[in-house]
């Protein structure tokens, strides 16, 4: 009896069981912002996500923002790393090219650092959205 509402909620949930796309789309979307939507033929959404997240990240770099590496130190540094990591491929390329390694010496560089962290966090949201489309929870 106690499980009845849960059973009803499950029956009403239109989401499909996990399929291949529900793994590929989020993974690709993390690596290239918006690609998780594009692979599911949501072209306009994908292009807008790519442009928005990509521009924020690149502007952050151009503002001489700092990119965080994996670390076990200060909690804010760890959170900065988690945010940056969300940018996926752009984060990997930035690390590989050794960009964004300067110290935050002025206000604009601090804004740039936040731009890159927020770009990564927005990409996490975009990845979750791509997953919801893949399982049929969102049109």
């Amino acid at each position: 009896m106690a499980n009845q509402p849960i059973a009803k909620a499950k029956a009403a949930d239109p989401a499909q069981p996990d399929n291949t796309m529900s793994i590929i789309a989020p993974a690709l979307g993390w690596l290239i912002p918006g690609a998780g939507h594009m692979i599911q033929k949501r072209w306009i959404r994908g292009v807008l996500l790519f442009t928005s997240i990509g521009t924020l990240f690149v502007l952050g770099l151009m503002m001489q923002g700092h990119i965080y590496k994996a670390n076990g130190g200060d909690i804010l540094d760890i959170l900065g790393f988690v945010g940056d990591l969300g940018a996926g491929g752009m984060y990997i390329v930035t690390l590989a090219m050794n960009w964004g390694q300067g110290t935050i010496a002025f206000a604009i560089a601090d804004y740039g650092t936040k731009f890159m962290i927020v770009a990564g966090l927005l990409n996490f949201i975009a990845v979750a959205d791509a997953y919801h489309i893949a399982i049929g929870k969102k049109p």
């Binding site: 807008l48 928005s52 997240i53 924020l56 151009m62 503002m63 731009f115 927005l122 949201i125 975009a126």
Partner: protein, 60 residues
């Protein structure tokens, strides 16, 4: 290559792109996405202006 943005232009660019992503990811239909994106953008910039004037008043 570096770029220098003012505080306002940085906040404007941030609000614009964050609102686009919020609009796309938080709503289901195209119309709702546009409306929610515009709402977020207005809230970002409105909050910025209100906070700016509040700080100006506090400083006096």
């Amino acid at each position: 290559m570096t770029i220098q943005l003012t505080h306002f232009s940085a906040a404007f660019v941030f609000a614009l792109f964050a609102s686009i992503v919020f609009g796309i990811t938080h709503r289901e239909t195209t119309r709702e996405m546009v409306r929610y994106g515009l709402y977020c953008f207005a809230m970002f910039l409105g909050g910025l202006l209100i906070a700016g004037w509040a700080m100006w008043l506090v400083r006096r």
